[in-house]
């Protein structure tokens, strides 16, 4: 029992150990075929029309990229919400043409001397075309000004290091200055281990900025998407005036593996899903992607005083 306790604090981003979102991963169609048939076609991996077809990990439905994009990456058969990249999500919620990115140039440094950290960051930058795990900026939602931030899980599990913490903090401070609503879409494996204590302190920094925004009586809407865990859950993402969640997304503080190992108990069905959170009174609403923009607009209208 004591051994498991030593891991009590291991809710930081755990790479490749199952805290990622296998449930939601977008599988290119080639994953459907067994290797031999690929070889039989005389094709290499690179020759495949990667990403054109996607298989729903829940029901097996196969959708074409164009259709899936049009349906906001929701499975037409079972309503499964696929992982969304930041730019798509911004397009989905901001009034057309209103998004202006801020702090796009912030870049990670190796604050602790953690081996291979910067190489890792660079590889994710190349893979995703993003500089870091969150995109922030001004936008309008339902005609009202908001500062929004959207985390992108592809980037090192959208773990929170100094840059993510700084961008979230600046976004909140900007909203406080401009008397605007804050809308943050979370998806994160937690605090970024590679920046050690600096990552942990981002939890206090972002929450502190929210304290001032809160005292200024300004609206903050937190939207939890798959998966939101660890240090992000234990800071800005659970501090919304209103907390929304996407259907069936995973939300929690400690990873399910850690909980299981520590407690030696079987986890209840649906543990740490949006529906579980809803049942326990921890989120305001579960919102289907088709209704996200409208729900945000309605909320912001109610929460704005002018």
């Amino acid at each position: 029992m004591k051994k498991a306790f030593a891991e009590a604090s291991s809710h930081a981003y755990i790479e490749g150990t199952g805290s990622g979102p296998p449930r939601n991963t977008t599988f290119p169609i080639m994953a459907l075929f067994k290797r031999p048939s690929l070889k039989g076609l005389g094709l290499k991996k690179n020759d495949m029309p990667e990403g054109l077809w996607h298989k729903c990990p829940e029901c097996g439905q196969i959708s074409h990229e164009v259709d899936l994009k049009q349906r906001k990456r929701v499975c037409q058969k079972c309503d499964h919400h696929f992982t969304m990249i930041a730019s798509e999500r911004i397009e989905m919620i901001a009034d057309p043409g209103t998004f202006q990115e801020i702090d796009a140039g912030l870049d990670s440094v190796d604050g602790l001397g953690f081996k291979n950290y910067l190489e890792k960051v660079k590889s994710y930058q190349q893979k995703t075309g993003l500089k870091e795990a969150i995109v922030t900026g001004r936008a309008k939602i339902g005609g009202r000004p908001a500062v929004i931030g959207v985390m992108d899980f592809r980037f090192l599990g959208a773990s929170m290091g100094s840059v993510v913490g700084e961008k979230v903090t600046r976004a909140i401070e900007l909203a406080t200055d401009e008397k605007a609503t804050v809308v943050l879409f979370s998806a994160s494996g937690g605090a970024r281990m590679h920046e050690g204590i600096l990552s942990l302190m981002q939890m206090a920094k972002t929450s502190g900025a929210l304290a001032r925004h809160h005292l200024a009586r300004l609206p903050y809407i937190s939207v939890l998407t798959h998966p939101t865990t660890g240090g992000v859950t234990a800071s800005f993402s659970t501090l919304g005036d209103v907390i929304l969640a996407e259907p069936r997304c995973m939300i929690g503080f400690a990873g399910p593996r850690v909980v299981k190992e520590t407690t030696h108990q079987n986890l209840p069905p649906g543990f740490q899903t949006a529906e579980f959170m809803m049942e326990h009174g921890l989120v305001d609403r579960i919102v289907h992607r088709e209704e996200m923009r409208e729900t945000l607009s309605r909320l912001i209208r109610y929460m704005s005083r002018a």
Partner: protein, 318 residues
């Protein structure tokens, strides 16, 4: 204090045992062995200096987790007068892993909160090994708010392997309990001092750690992830915890260099567990000094400084 030696302390304990034998021999046989005794005493002093002045990060983690190390209530006992414990979060229960209440520090009214570990199985069942549930963080917040209301300074003693990763903790929103404390502590209109006295286990530590001054005992550690957890990820093997402890930069000296903490509080040679009285006396002196400094600052300025203190954390470019 009688304690089991940690692995790296075994040479010292062996020498100390030899010294006892020698003294016994000398007095029982009435032989003059003064020079031998002096030699071994010198060797003990040298070995201690060499060992304890050059502790590795991992050795400090072991000291921070030492079962004889003074815990929150030991410091409350020795540093404060008239401790009046208050219980419960007013909703679910009373989390005994996070005791708290009113206490006097040489006439300065305080609210003290902190995680408490147990020294034996029975105590640890009660204290949950120092891992608090949401109720603990909410009780701490309730008491801190009361401190704010009545102008009592807040002292948070941090000693936890982490917030409890359990089913009930998740159901009752441990994440929100911590997050809410982070937000609320930032704007409390009363001086706050947080001291990491043992283990500073990630969010569970930070959950009572937003303060005007953050201090650390010499052999305490403060980290985003346990060295074992980090080793399991980086090396796929918990045995590499010593390397992980180095890499993560979690010792008091590291964190002072990184400008995360304000001061390192020295411990008696070999660690606080070897001399509770001396360890408590030093902590008390340092705590009084910081509270006196904070009491001299106006509240608006204090809150501005507290905000800026945490606002500056992080390293990036662009």
């Amino acid at each position: 204090m009688n304690t089991e030696p940690l692995d790296f302390e075994k040479p010292i304990f062996e020498l100390e045992r030899q010294l006892v034998d020698l003294r016994e021999l000398s007095s029982s046989k009435n032989i003059d062995m003064d020079s031998e005794i002096r030699k071994i005493e010198e060797k003990i002093t040298r070995t201690k200096e060499q060992t304890y002045r050059n502790l590795t990060a991992w050795q400090r983690v072991q000291i921070a987790r030492h079962p004889q190390r003074p815990y929150t209530l030991d410091y409350v006992d020795r540093c404060f007068d008239d401790f009046l414990e208050l219980h419960g979060d007013r909703h679910i229960g009373d989390d005994q892993s996070m005791p708290g209440g009113f206490a006097d520090l040489e006439g300065r009214r305080c609210v003290v909160v902190g995680q408490q570990k147990g020294r034996n199985t029975k105590d640890n069942l009660l204290r949950n090994f120092g891992s608090a549930h949401p109720e603990g963080y909410r009780k701490a917040l309730r008491l801190m708010r009361m401190g704010e209301k009545f102008g009592a300074a807040i002292v948070a003693l941090i000693d936890t392997p982490g917030a409890y990763p359990g089913i009930g903790a998740e159901e009752r929103n441990i994440a929100e309990a911590i997050a809410f404390n982070l937000r609320e502590m930032m704007t409390m209109r009363v001086p706050i001092v947080a001291i990491v006295i043992g283990e500073g286990g990630s969010g569970g530590a930070l959950g009572i750690g937003v303060a005007d001054r953050v201090l650390m005992l010499e052999n305490a550690y403060y980290s985003v992830i346990s060295p074992e957890g980090c080793a399991a990820i980086l090396w796929k093997d918990r045995k590499h915890a010593p390397e992980a402890a180095n890499t993560l930069r979690i010792t008091a000296t590291d964190l002072k260099e990184l400008d995360i903490i304000d001061e390192v509080i020295p411990e008696p040679l070999g660690g606080a567990h070897r001399d509770h009285v001396a360890a408590s006396a030093t902590l008390k002196t340092v705590l009084r000094r910081h509270l006196a400094e904070l009491d001299a600052i106006g509240l608006d300025e204090l809150l501005q400084l507290r905000y800026e203190k945490f606002r500056k954390f992080g390293k990036f470019k662009g």
